[in-house]
Symmetry: C2
Subunit: 521 residues, 2 copies
């Protein structure tokens, strides 16, 4: 009998003796973070093919948040914000190499998550939580930045995106880690067939998640599982069982497999009898990457543009909270909420006070979804791109202080963040400043940001008079972190990750030659 | 005690003696047809404000058809197609005054539904059905074209759109009929406050529908109710109770009131115990009228453009079938289906053979939703604009043979059917022919019609080889009807509708001076 199966059976047997985790115990926490999945990719949020039965059921049993935002329209800063509860401009996940640039953690990035930041698993540890990340890390891949150095007890996954394959000369293939040592590389031990899109990685990540849950159930220790599968990020992949099954092509196949996996995880919680003591949240790191074209990108539903932009399509995310017996089933909650709230909310669920030595951007959402779902908290959403506050949402209104899609040069190269969409003066190809007279939209009447409210109206002046002080206060009190995403160097790539010796997979490290990273968007 | 209340109570009392309507009896039929409501206006189809709890519940209890189409992107032809089961180009609801023009029935239209057409209520009558239309007719307003001359036993509503107010000199206000006589006019006896948007018309239409249902239940006669409320057509209106309640502005208020009304009607069926013997279908006449701007138009979700166009936003409709005990709850059915199927399906439900002396475009959907929801029928969808076949869908593929939004002249006047959307070579402002090399899209991967499939691919050639014979066959066998929407005349306006004498509301009829109507789009 294999280890995981044995563990699972033990867990089943131990049901009756494990009822200690009552209402008073802090719940387990599972955050499922998708990669480049768009708001409009879920059936319950209007994807016409309606191929997410498990997520739709999760919403029907839980609470849907249609006004949930990421902290940045790109993966690394978004993930850093989730784990620190702070805007990237505070936690250092941004660049000052250019104005309003999206930066992330490619293999040549020198920086990573600052040691001055406090990550969610580091605090949860104090209350006895065991934390595991499954999937994509993306908070820096040099040794000191990896998950086990930053609060996680366990990790199975990769530090960077699964781009490739590379020939390991100019650029190494990205390693896959099991805890603190690599166990192979993408396109080598962990195959992704670029031609067919076949890869069993989601199945591996699912099994890693399920095994962790089983193990923690058996050990009767509260756990934090950060399940960060990356199948919907280009190059998009799915396992053979799902390939060709979607009406939506390969991207849809990947969504179907992730949806299936979500269903398996929730089902396992029920089987183990811990559904009432496990808080689960599903969301995505940024909007669908429309520039990846029809077969490798998702849908942002009725929203404007996508990943890399601060329009709704770039930052509004699918979001479902699920906690049977605690969260009333089938509710929709219109609270303006953010991936950074998951930090504060998780601490609240664990009964831990948040750090008081730093500014936090996350709200505690527990009052919203546990007690009074109709009492919304009036809070702004800040839309940053790199070092610039591009836009602010307050209530139904959103004010754009800067607009930019990308440069005409990039557009000519085929990089288009808003294919088929063009709102004059809004989806600009130059960085356009509107701070003296922001573009204001009513997102209820006009979720697609197509009809700026006339500056001559009373409505515009009223909104401006309410948003301006919020922006002024934010800017005046903001203490920006030291930017971590400024320097690049081929020497820091994943040439010789820990564990490479055992596998005979160490590559020669080239000489260091750092440069200021270029961030064209 | 008022009439309706008495009727209602009697109906309740008569429950036990009225169980004759068993499975063998033909069911009552209710078709709820909205006006300019878009695919994306329902919560269950992704409207971010999720303000349609009754429609969402209807879908959860019934069957959702995400691939349901109207027959034309404009109201009159769409409605004529519903009631005849035939494409407008066959039933005469089109114009030959220009190429590919959208035509409808404004007050100056001379024509209307041809006496050679057979309308649904005319056939249902043979099986003892009593038919009522509540709301907008739009199949011609001259005496011979009105509902009671075309198979309906009862009518409460208006023959034309609720444009206005007019001063009754150059143009009369549109009459509201009760059966064969007018009972007032819009903006006079039936107020719509253009400033506030307040009107209690939806409440009146709701009550008319409920009273009819009660009456038929009492009389134990099968009925056909065609409930065609128009609150979501500009000028958009709602009653005081709903005004200001939506997150979406006035349009959302109207949707909320319609959603409430749908809930009331379904609830009444349950109260009367006839939910198992009443087939209900909800849909809309064409896509959201995006040109009406953010406060007076709805959402077409992820689809391209809207009303007046043959892109998905113009013709794909929200569609829900509901029939407890017969249609399995909560299913999604991907059958390519059409408003014309409602004709054929209704006849099938009533146990009547469809007319065999003419071409019908409607399918009988009963096998799809009653017996084998997974056995889809392979049938094309034809997208017409006036006298031109603009596009064809077969399976997931759609081929555009002609593209056009509207002319640059109209665009300069502010008429924009695709605000904020621009797909080069697709959303053209000239009538562009592609018949030698149609633009082909895969609507599963690319529901927004943004990425035409390259003609150089095997996929393109394969699709073309399958679609071409379908188009050829259609064109070769098509017998176009005599166009009814070519001639206009101020003399035919609603100056002196039947019943005007009793009300003292007859207006002087100007001299006849017919002209060829101009259809700019």
């Amino acid at each position: 009998m294999s280890g995981p199966v044995l563990t699972f059976l033990c867990a089943l047997i131990c049901f009756s003796c494990a009822e200690k985790l009552g209402a008073a115990s802090p719940p387990n926490i599972i955050i499922m973070l998708m990669d480049d999945m768009g708001w409009g990719d879920l059936g319950v949020l209007g994807q016409p093919s309606k191929e997410t039965p498990n997520l739709d059921a999760m919403a029907a049993q839980g609470m849907l948040f249609p006004n949930f935002y990421t902290a940045n329209p790109l993966c690394s800063p978004s993930r850093a914000a989730l784990l620190t509860g702070r805007l990237p401009v505070r936690n250092g996940f941004y660049t000052t190499n250019g104005h309003a640039r999206n930066a992330y953690t490619p293999q040549e990035i020198v920086g990573g998550i600052s040691r001055d930041e406090i990550l969610l698993p580091q605090i949860l540890k104090k209350k006895g939580y065991i934390s595991k990340i499954v999937g994509k890390w993306h908070l820096g891949h040099r040794a000191q930045y990896l998950p086990l150095k930053n609060g996680f007890h366990q990790w199975f996954g990769a530090p960077n995106c699964h781009f490739g394959p590379y020939n390991n000369s100019g650029r190494p293939n990205v390693p896959v880690y099991n805890n603190s040592e690599m166990v192979g590389r993408y396109y080598e031990e962990f195959q992704i067939d670029r031609k067919t899109g076949e890869s069993n990685l989601t199945q591996i990540y699912l099994q890693e998640g399920l095994d962790f849950i089983n193990g923690q159930r058996l050990a009767q220790q509260p756990f934090f599982l950060y399940w960060a599968a990356d199948a919907t990020h280009a190059p998009v992949y799915a396992s053979r069982r799902f390939l060709g099954k979607s009406q939506r092509g390969r991207y849809g196949d990947a969504v179907m497999e992730l949806d299936y996996s979500v269903g398996q995880i929730l089902s396992r919680l029920r089987t183990l009898g811990i559904e009432n003591s496990t808080f689960v949240f599903f969301t995505s790191d940024n909007g669908a990457a429309l520039t990846s074209g029809p077969s490798e990108s998702g849908s942002n539903g009725p929203f404007l543009c996508g990943k890399e932009t601060t329009y709704e399509g770039g930052m509004r995310e699918p979001a479902i909270a699920w906690w049977p017996g605690h969260i009333t089933a089938g509710k929709v909650n219109f609270q303006l909420s953010s991936v950074m709230d998951l930090f504060t909310t998780s601490l609240s669920l664990a009964g831990i006070s948040p750090p008081d030595d730093r500014a936090l951007d996350g709200l505690d959402l527990t009052p919203v979804f546990l007690n009074s779902p109709h009492t919304l908290q009036n809070r702004p959403i800040f839309y940053y791109r790199g070092n610039e506050l591009m836009a602010v949402r307050l209530g139904q209104y959103k004010a754009h202080y800067w607009t930019w899609t990308n440069s005409l040069d990039e557009l000519k190269k085929g990089v288009n963040f808003c294919p088929g969409q063009e709102v004059p003066g809004v989806t600009t190809h130059e960085q356009k400043e509107h701070t003296m007279q922001p573009l204001i939209f009513h997102l209820g009447r006009d979720p697609g940001e197509k009809f700026p409210i006339s500056v001559l109206t009373e409505e515009y002046q009223d909104v401006l008079s309410r948003i301006s002080p919020v922006v002024d206060h934010h800017k005046k009190t903001l203490v920006a972190g030291i930017p971590q995403l400024n320097m690049c160097d081929v020497a820091v790539m994943n040439w010789a990750p820990a564990g490479c010796e055992k596998l005979g997979k160490c590559l020669k490290v080239p000489e260091s030659s750092p440069w200021k990273c270029e961030w064209p968007h």
